[in-house]
Symmetry: C2
Subunit: 220 residues, 2 copies
């Protein structure tokens, strides 16, 4: 499965979140990191890249309860009628659409009665309508609140969740998550362990415990 990560961030060089995600994405040979800078686009190249992908991930920080302008610029120019949808099936039919959305406020701000007055699910609903129009299967979004306040452990969990989001057929399936962990353990993938878990034996045991819990969860 090939995954195209379309990243829109107005100040990407300054973003710790995006630099963490970029390093993580580099671990996946089947994922392509594609930064959208709001400039004029080579439409033919953009379409070719879309066509070559099985999954498209829209990745951005929340700006004004929406995506930054560069994402809309890309959608407005590239995702046009008779290309991605139209009287006939567009070129995205049957692919999957992921959303990786970071934001700086605490999640409770988006709760009912919270400061914002709008839930994250409401904010992202236009993307469900976009997926529907293009015949894309929408994945549950991967939300990243307050990256800069995350502990090392939370970041290790995010790294795993993100790798799974880029590669698993259904990233929210506990069965697929467990299979992914088992495969990592079988491969004894030193690179993964070095990167994510600082190669510590106790973390390995944690992983095994996670697998057991996920297996137990499935049997319930």
């Amino acid at each position: 499965m090939h995954t195209l990560i379309a990243v829109a961030h107005p100040h990407i060089a300054r973003s710790n979140t995006q630099s963490f995600l970029k390093e993580t994405a580099a671990l996946e040979p089947t994922a392509t990191w594609h930064e959208l800078d709001g400039a004029t686009l080579n439409l033919a190249a953009e379409r070719k890249q879309l066509l070559a992908s099985d999954r498209i991930v829209l990745q951005f920080p929340l700006y004004w309860y929406s995506a930054p302008a560069a994402l809309w610029n890309w959608l407005d120019q590239v995702w046009v009628k008779n290309v991605v949808y139209g009287p006939d099936d567009g070129l995205l039919q049957g692919k999957s659409l992921g959303l990786v959305v970071s934001y700086s406020e605490p999640p409770r701000d988006y709760d009912l009665g919270g400061k914002v007055g709008l839930s994250m699910q409401e904010i992202l609903r236009p993307f469900a309508a976009i997926a529907k129009r293009c015949g894309l299967q929408l994945l549950s979004p991967l939300l990243i609140p307050q990256f800069d306040r995350m502990t090392e452990q939370e970041r290790a969990q995010l790294l795993v969740a993100y790798r799974q989001y880029l590669t698993l057929a259904d990233p929210s399936s506990q069965r697929e998550q467990a299979a992914w962990f088992e495969q990592q353990l079988r491969q004894n993938d030193a690179e993964l362990l070095a990167d994510t878990l600082a190669d510590q034996q106790d973390k390995l045991l944690d992983l095994r415990a996670t697998v057991s819990q996920l297996r137990a969860g499935e049997e319930e």
Copy 2:
């Protein structure tokens, strides 16, 4: 009351809707037409213009169940923390926010169970959150579906609704609408009548009937 009309349309020269609205806005000396082209912005000039306005109208065609990129570009660059909101009150506090949104599908596509799967109110909810954050009073949106299919009479009604939207303290108030019509009639404003009603006496009678109906509606 001064009104700033911030217009975002990727192909504005080709838009019959925007050209109709632009001609109409030109009838209002207190309204400023401001096209956003997605280019780099002069932030100081933009802020000055915002500060000088009592009402800001965001005007755009629906693109991907959202506004076109140029609107987000303007919001992302100009409507920033410590300017339009922040620890202290931003420069928009107490002003009003209008939305003039055109779209090409029939309104039923946005009904529950419709093709889109998302209502117009849901699509525009982020703007309610933006208004809340900036201390702006949100007006009911002025929706313009399928302008190109409108009859002459519907366009005359739109012209009046738009003029009212740009100038009335509460454009959805029947009392204010009636007062506006009465004022137009009292002034015997030949320009308005020539432009909107082709100066026909029967249309004048229609106007008087409208006023009577509105008055009757208020008394109910």
